[in-house]
Symmetry: C2
Subunit: 206 residues, 2 copies
């Protein structure tokens, strides 16, 4: 993402077809997993957490890879939207339109589904850091939890908006079910960590 934050948000805010909610969700996930890297970096090499050093190094390596993947998925999501925009532009009396639209809808739901799979791995890192990460950075674990949970809730919206229009209902319902299972896995892990961290800081669960 060799792009100014300002410019990316301007493009997002515009009526241009991409980036949209899928890319935005992937970016929010990348922010969340960057906080996981930060907590790992603040824990690594500290005497107090020496027993977790190897685990923390593994968390850091995974977090860096997951962040890169989420940034890639911003572009993949944008590319997958192009055939869909084209299919919508085909006149409704064109006999090939329905098949092209169905294919494009299936293609456009791949990136948000991949975002969910990537976020599920991120949520495992949040859980691990909530017990092994430096207590000095515990509020950042809570932030990461909230962001990764929200990224999943955003990504699944971009599965729904495509499955809703598919005529192949078996494919659509199956993809929805798989996506909802992933989001529930991610949000249940993240929300539990969030509430534990909030209470440990004298705050309130949400």
């Amino acid at each position: 993402m060799n792009k100014d934050i300002d410019l990316f948000l301007n493009d997002l805010a515009s009526s241009a077809p991409t980036p949209g909610g899928g890319g935005a969700s992937s970016l929010v996930g990348a922010v969340g997993v960057a906080l996981c890297s930060m907590v790992a970096n603040l824990t690594s090499g500290k005497k107090k957490y020496a027993e977790y050093q190897q685990d923390i190094e593994a968390v850091l390596e995974q977090a860096e890879g997951l962040r890169l993947r989420l940034l890639e998925l911003i572009d993949e999501d944008a590319r997958a939207f192009e055939p869909l925009a084209k299919a919508y532009g085909i006149p409704k009396d064109n006999p090939g339109r329905d098949v092209m639209l169905e294919d494009a809808l299936k293609g456009a739901s791949d990136a948000p589904y991949d975002i969910l799979c990537t976020l599920d791995a991120c949520s495992d890192l949040v859980v691990e850091l909530s017990t092994k990460g430096s207590r000095l950075a515990i509020s950042d674990v809570g932030c990461a939890a909230a962001m990764i949970s929200a990224a999943a809730k955003g990504a699944v919206m971009n599965v729904y908006i495509n499955t809703k229009l598919m005529t192949d209902r078996e494919y659509a319902d199956n993809l929805n079910d798989k996506a909802i299972t992933l989001v529930r896995s991610i949000t249940s892990k993240c929300d539990r960590v969030y509430d534990i961290v909030a209470e440990s800081l004298g705050g309130a669960p949400m």
Copy 2:
């Protein structure tokens, strides 16, 4: 934010003191409210939503202002951390340390509290767009709701981490109460919109 997304996330991921969870929360809020602008832009000028045209124009103007404010708050949060980092560096036997630390903790909790106030205004736009925004962009309203809710949950963590260490418990408890009230206001609005949008798209509430 005249800065590459990649570079900002690298700085966030590092062990450098800023940016941290507060700036990350403000960025996630900016992504959410940029989606509000996008929905307003996709609704504006459409015949089907002509009755809401004036309201949509007002939403767009507010959303653009709130996005700028959230981007400013990334820098304000970073600047407010500097005196805190300095206070931590003062030797513990220095008699002036406690007062400087207390002042720095109060200063460092201002930016995350301001982020919450800004996000509360963002959440009102989400509610308005959920009924007046183009149905073609309804998944983006759901994404915005998830992100603004998460930004609030992240920002309040950065109030807690400062209030926890304050010796003036009346000030700390009062600030915590005000912050929690704001987060509950934001998340209750956003989470309700999220669930309504998810169900309207054939998905599941979370």
